[in-house]
């Protein structure tokens, strides 16, 4: 179902177009993701899994998993969650792994001709920043103002990272963009770049990062090699999965995916949702679901206490949504999509309490069970890895300047440890300054020192309270080990 009214958002939909799904004519909007268009038409099953032929649908919404792979215009394995819809597209349910296409231009035995080969583009830049979210854009603004020629690369067509889905106001004080909605902060961060030597390279995926700081990029189906003197990785985080019976059934979605569907595409994920996870993400997305007119059956969390801010919990409680701590989801059921979820209480040892099972009639289960930093590019190039549970698991070891074990390679934001967007922005500034110090021979040392101490004290303030304790402890462990 499509949202027609929303208290915060207006949906700027493209042209209404026709496309085909398994031979049926459907309507969608040009440029929205294929997955969103199908969802809006009530279609939840996108493919059959490769061995067990289990129904699969939308899941991560960021082109990371395999759930939404479909055959589009004859080409199998298309990630429909990130592929824009075009007029007259032929979208088909994919069964199995998808057949290899044997076309005239690429048949067994044929070789690319000379003219078609070696068309590799090579570019160089002083600083390459991977990720145009809060950390990456802040890093670009600070490196840029110190005079560093910078390219920011992001696989999405729109900059802002997760900010583009955040309809709530941020906490903090003025310097942390407090009282401004996430969706508007992204615009401010972009505006901050004007007049600076910073270029955005959107719709571009980093396929690889090599020890000599060469990035292998994929843009518009072309392979580009980018050589950088320094790299800042601001690649964010991935959502954690939870295993339970039928957890792969269409209707079990990540919280970020639900936000994308609802707040970017204006398509509601279902009619009635069970939210798993009472941290800030779970509480905020539950509230956003209510704002979109979706019923939230309950927010559950295996922990004995609400993990997120009380003010976020209070908003959904007064709207009548129960928060059940010490509860978990045991199974979802339905023939090819979620029709109900069974929850139960857990004891002090996280074990299900027999007899406490309850079935909720829901068509969607939303998972907000934590994040893992995206450090794969750092690990690919050989940055030293450290496991810090408080930061979300395996992270690239880094020092207080956010520099990894490889000189000239920095990591900032959720990629350096899971925190809030407000801390990600400050970390980005610090990484941008550190990169500038490394790259510029004639950098204004006084200004750099001033900005760095400003950012450091800001970070300290943001992490000072009880909710900053985990990150504080995580960073303390990290800096003790050293990069």
């Amino acid at each position: 179902m499509r949202l027609t009214q929303h208290p915060i958002l207006e949906f700027d939909r493209g042209r209404e177009i026709e496309f085909e799904f398994d031979g049926r004519k459907l309507l969608g909007f040009e440029g929205e993701s294929i997955a969103a268009a199908l969802h809006a038409n009530g279609i939840r099953v996108f493919r059959e899994s490769i061995k067990r032929k289990r129904p699969r649908g939308f899941f991560c919404a960021i082109g990371r998993c395999s759930s939404c792979l479909m055959t589009v215009d004859g080409i199998p394995n298309i990630m429909t969650c990130v592929t824009p819809l075009k007029e007259d597209m032929k979208v088909e349910t994919q069964r199995g792994k998808g057949a290899i296409l044997l076309t005239e231009s690429f048949s067994p035995g044929s070789r690319p001709t000379e003219a078609r080969r070696g068309a590799k583009d090579v570019a160089t830049v002083s600083l390459a920043i991977v990720g145009a979210g809060p950390a990456g854009l802040s890093a670009a603004a600070y490196a840029g103002r110190m005079g560093v020629e910078t390219i920011v690369i992001d696989e999405n067509d729109v900059p802002g990272g997760q900010l583009i889905k955040q309809t709530h106001m941020f906490f903090g004080s003025r310097e942390h963009y407090a009282q401004i909605r996430g969706i508007d902060i992204g615009d401010e961060l972009i505006a901050n770049l004007s007049g600076l030597p910073v270029k955005l390279m959107l719709g571009t995926t980093v396929l690889g990062l090599y020890p000599d700081r060469t990035l292998s990029l994929l843009a518009n189906r072309r392979h580009i090699e980018l050589r950088a003197d320094a790299v800042i990785l601001a690649t964010g985080a991935s959502e954690n999965m939870l295993a339970f019976e039928n957890c792969d059934l269409p209707g079990v979605y990540g919280a970020g995916a639900v936000q994308t569907l609802m707040n970017v595409h204006g398509v509601v994920p279902g009619k009635r949702v069970l939210m798993v996870g009472a941290g800030n993400i779970g509480l905020i997305v539950a509230y956003q679901l209510l704002q979109a007119g979706v019923d939230v059956a309950a927010v559950i969390d295996a922990a004995p206490e609400v993990g997120g801010y009380h003010v976020h919990a209070a908003k959904i409680r007064r709207a009548g949504v129960p928060i059940l701590t010490s509860h978990t989801v045991q199974r979802v059921t339905g023939p090819d999509r979620v029709e109900s979820a069974e929850i139960c209480r857990v004891d002090d040892h996280w074990q299900p309490v027999p007899g406490s099972e309850r079935t909720l009639s829901v068509d969607t289960v939303c998972l907000a069970v934590g994040l893992t930093p995206n450090c794969e590019l750092a690990f690919q190039m050989g940055c030293r890895e450290t496991y810090v549970a408080e930061l979300g698991g395996p992270v690239a070891a880094h020092d207080p300047d956010l520099e990894t074990s490889i000189s000239g390679v920095f990591i900032a934001g959720d990629a350096s440890g899971i925190e809030e967007a407000s801390t990600a922005m400050i970390e980005g500034r610090l990484a941008g300054l550190a990169a500038a110090e490394l790259l510029c021979r004639e950098v204004d040392r006084e200004e750099l020192k001033r900005l760095r101490s400003e950012a450091t004290s800001s970070l300290k303030t943001l992490r000072a309270g009880p909710f900053g304790a985990t990150a504080r402890e995580g960073k303390r462990k990290m800096f003790k080990v050293g990069s």
Binding site: R222, H223, N246
Partner: protein
């Protein structure tokens, strides 16, 4: 957990299959990947690695923190070989 719970959704590998493999002596993510293909599908283990690491510690003890993660290699995303080779759509 029930044996038929899907842990690796790319390669359709169940909890039961993983437990059986661990009990047969495969106790690292890399070993399990080579035998069961967990982490070899389009998501490259992004969805299941954390779950599998936990299952390993539940079966044989130890800490997730000490477990060697899967090796990260380029490319990060599935990409057609022709594009890597420099072929383009225009010509």
């Amino acid at each position: 957990m029930k044996d038929d719970v899907i842990i690796c959704r790319c390669e359709d590998v169940s909890y039961g299959e993983i437990v059986e493999a661990i009990d047969s002596g495969l106790t690292t993510l890399e070993e399990l990947k080579r035998v069961l293909r967990t982490g070899m599908g389009p998501c490259q283990g992004r969805t299941c690695s954390r779950l599998i690491a936990r299952i390993i510690t539940e079966r044989i003890g130890g800490e997730v923190a000490d477990m060697k993660p899967l090796l990260d290699r380029p490319p990060t995303m599935p990409v057609e070989i022709g594009i890597l080779a420099g072929a383009s759509d225009e010509d």
